[in-house]
Every structure is written in structure tokens, then in C-alpha cells.
């Protein structure tokens, strides 16, 4: 088992109001599973993804990641788990404009303390796989949106994480580049990586094995794909 949440809640409190962003989420995700999360804007999808990705805390409830209860772990512990096990892909690519393509992809390995030689080897390998070698010395602003998202995917996978979290990864792309990112995710899943993807697109959600529907912070239904596309 990769992830298990029990009665997970997230409540935002401002001076006057309490907003329940997530309510009693019970969710189990296995190693290597490919899950899509759908639901209208404001239903809690991104909050759930942030909590799963250990970049946000639940207000209450249990969260087990790789068998460890992490709901109340210190930031240092969570950072260690996050950097070693999770790769992130965001709608807005999240590349650093001051860094070249090579350096952007290298970043997760720097945080893991990987040796310089090994870093170079791994980054070149992943750039080769993603057909980005001719771009390795370019800056993000010199690339098209599709290329930027390929760089973001390369960065997410370079440390060979067990889990990829993708928040609307195709949201800023046209359909050709959207398909391209989806097929990259499909390949990663085929290679054994678990993927949790938030999407608005029913068509893209159907690439997954299981679709979870959120509404008002609650899981309202689940749909196990009979035959998932790859």
C-alpha cells in the first residue's frame, strides 16, 4: 500500500468563517496505481493533492504514506519523504526561469545529494528519453508550452519517484501536446510508477485505472475503469 487516509479533514479558518475544504476522506492507493481525481472547481481536488504530496497539512485525520503516519510529522521528515518519493507536475509547469533546461531537471537530484557524475548521467538520460537534448542549454522562456511541460515531466521523474502527482498537467496545453503528456504518464505507469492526476477532462481521466469524484470536499463516487487505455 502506498497511501491510506482515514477521516481526513481540512478546515480553513478566517476571522469569521470556517470553510471545510476536505471532509472525511477515506482513500487507499496502491503502489503503481493510476488514479484520476475529478470534480468541479473548489471541490478540494488540489487541496487533497497538496496533502497527499506533503506540501499541506490535514486539520485532522490519519495519513499513512508508505506505512508511516505523516499527518503530524515535522516538516523536515515530510521533506525527506517528499523529495525521495514524490515527483510533481503542475498546470503552470513550475520551471525556474533563471535556470537552463538541464539545471531545471537536475534540481531534485541536487536536493537528494546525488553525486555530480550520477546527476549528469541521469539528467542526460531523461532528456534523451523526452527528446529534449537539443534544448538542454535553453531557458524555459525560449521553449513552447508543450516543451516546457515535457521539461517539467522530466524533472518530476528524474529522481525515479514511487509516486507522480499531476495537477491539471494538460490545462495549459493544446490537444496535441496534451496527448503527448498523457502518453508520457502512461509510459511511467507502465514502468511501475503510481500516478495521481487531478483533471477536468473526462477523456484524460479515462487513461487512469480508477476515477475518484470529489464534490464539496467529499468523495461522492468512484469508478474503476474496466479497460484502461495506455
Amino acid at each position: 500500500m502506498l497511501i491510506q487516509t482515514k477521516n481526513l479533514k481540512k478546515i480553513y479558518t478566517t476571522e469569521e468563517v470556517e470553510t471545510t475544504a476536505l471532509n472525511a476522506i477515506d482513500l487507499t492507493i496502491d503502489q503503481g496505481e493510476y488514479v484520476a481525481i475529478m470534480g468541479p472547481s473548489g471541490c478540494g481536488k488540489s487541496t487533497l493533492l497538496n496533502i497527499i504530496g506533503l506540501i499541506d497539512n490535514p486539520s485532522s485525520g490519519e495519513y499513512m504514506f508508505l506505512g508511516k503516519n505523516v499527518a503530524d510529522s515535522s516538516e523536515r521528515k515530510r521533506a525527506g519523504l517528499r523529495k525521495a518519493n514524490i515527483g510533481f507536475i503542475f498546470q503552470s509547469f513550475n520551471l525556474i526561469d533563471e535556470l537552463t533546461v538541464f539545471e531545471n531537471v537536475e534540481l531534485p537530484l541536487l536536493y537528494l545529494g546525488t553525486s555530480a557524475g550520477e546527476r549528469k548521467k541521469r539528467v542526460n538520460e531523461v532528456l534523451e528519453n523526452m527528446a529534449l537534448m537539443p534544448r538542454k542549454n535553453h531557458f524555459p522562456q525560449q521553449l513552447s508550452g508543450g516543451q516546457q511541460q515535457r521539461v517539467a515531466v522530466a524533472r518530476a521523474v528524474v529522481a525515479r519517484p514511487k509516486l507522480i502527482l499531476a495537477d491539471e498537467p494538460t490545462g495549459n496545453l493544446d490537444s496535441t501536446h496534451g496527448e503527448e503528456v498523457m502518453s508520457l504518464l502512461g509510459e511511467l505507469h507502465a514502468g511501475g510508477t503510481a500516478i495521481i492526476m487531478v483533471t477536468h477532462s473526462q477523456a484524460y481521466a479515462e487513461y487512469s485505472q480508477r476515477i475518484i469524484y470529489l464534490f464539496d470536499g467529499q468523495i461522492v463516487s468512484e469508478n474503476i475503469q474496466k479497460k484502461f487505455k495506455l
Binding site: N94, D97, L99, L107
Partner: protein, 220 residues
């Protein structure tokens, strides 16, 4: 410091040649605060990208500190860009799974800077941009203005000589916009050259000189 002569940028599609910039002559002295204005499609962003060495002119000459940038190889352009230029964009481009501290630190990880000095530089930037209390937060836990402050702090942490800002307050409310502009003014007072592209007359007022672009031409 910066000298453009006869800089033209054009794209050919089939038989049609589209001009984005036409015959631009422009001098920017060290320590200037220059504003570039003009309607959408006038060539403002292209000009900024050429100044920042992210794009190259189709014709013309670009000298930076007397060096002929227009003859540089791609590798040399990359190096030059990294050491001289800080770019600030309208959208924030922070990395959502890194804390504010880590986001600021990233450009330093690629330079041969000792850990202790890196720490000092990040601490100084956090202090200058009033982000000390936010250093362990993630971008989604910040307001838009705070995110842009962090992005500006990161763009400037390597102490570039030139700041190129493309609509830096475009996504901010007026109070947050003022804050960012105030920071540019402060950096400029300390000797950093600033070139900004903006639609806002208020932002232009922070600069000491304004040029107007229209259809790729500098208006007299």
C-alpha cells in the same frame, strides 16, 4: 552599458515576412530606469527578450559593455544571460513543491557558492523582501503579492546588473503592485539598471525615461 543599432526582428512564414521590431537604435546607461510602453503586439516583449539574450535579432548589432552580443554563440549567450540579467515575469513561476526558502536558494545551487554563503544570501533576500516569516511556507500558502515578491527575490538573489521586468505587476492588486515597484526603485537607487515593460502610467512614473513602441518602431 547597452547599445542596440539597427536591430530588426522578423519572422518568415511562406512568402510573408512579419516584422516585430524594426531598425531599433537604443542606448541604456548603467543605473538607468527605463520604461517601454506601447500597445499589445508592438514588440515590447520581443525587445525585452533580445535585451535579456533569450532571443536574437534577425539583423543589427547588440553591444553589452562594449562586447558584440550579436556575434556570441548560444553557449556564451547562456552564460552572459546568467551572470548579468535578472528577469521578472508577470506570472510567478515558483516551484510549488519547494518552500519559499528553497525557491530563493535554487539559482545559487548552480554556482560555486559555499553553503554558509548561500545561507547568508538567502537570509539577506528574505529580509529585504520582507519574507522572513514566510520562509518555510509553500507557494500555495502565500497571497499573489507574496508569491510575486518571492519570485522577484529569486530573480535578484544572484545580484544581476540588469533587471528586465515584463509587466511585473500585471497579476497584482494596486497595493501589491506598488510594493513591487517600490522594490525596483530601491534596487535602482542602489545602482541596478532596470528596464520594465508596462501598460500602466503609474508604473512608468517610477522610471526616469520612457520609450514608446508602435508596430515595431520606436516612436520619436
Amino acid at each position: 552599458m547597452i547599445r542596440l543599432r539597427g536591430v530588426t526582428k522578423s519572422y518568415s512564414t511562406g512568402y510573408v515576412k512579419t516584422f516585430v521590431l524594426r531598425n531599433i537604435d537604443l542606448d541604456i546607461a548603467e543605473g538607468e530606469f527605463l520604461t517601454v510602453m506601447g500597445p499589445s503586439g508592438a514588440g515590447k516583449s520581443t525587445l525585452l527578450h533580445i535585451l535579456g539574450m533569450l532571443d536574437t535579432p534577425s539583423e543589427g548589432e547588440y553591444h553589452f559593455d562594449g562586447q558584440p552580443v550579436h556575434t556570441f554563440s548560444e553557449k556564451r549567450l547562456t552564460e552572459f544571460h546568467k551572470h548579468q540579467i535578472g528577469f521578472v515575469f508577470q506570472s510567478y513561476h515558483l516551484i510549488d513543491d519547494l518552500t519559499v526558502y528553497e525557491n530563493l536558494e535554487t539559482p545559487l545551487l548552480y554556482k560555486k557558492i559555499k553553503a554558509s554563503e548561500r545561507k547568508a544570501l538567502v537570509a539577506e533576500a528574505l529580509d529585504r523582501f520582507h519574507m522572513v516569516a514566510k520562509k518555510d511556507l509553500f507557494p500555495h500558502q502565500l497571497s499573489g503579492g507574496q508569491q510575486q515578491r518571492a519570485a522577484v527575490a529569486r530573480a535578484l538573489i544572484t545580484k544581476p546588473r540588469v533587471i528586465l521586468a515584463d509587466e511585473p505587476t500585471g497579476n497584482l492588486n494596486s497595493k501589491e503592485g506598488k510594493e513591487i515597484m517600490g522594490m525596483f526603485a530601491e534596487l535602482n537607487a542602489g545602482g541596478t539598471t532596470v528596464v520594465q515593460v508596462t501598460h500602466s502610467e503609474q508604473n512608468a512614473a517610477y522610471g526616469r525615461r520612457t520609450i514608446h513602441l508602435l508596430d515595431g518602431w520606436i516612436q520619436a
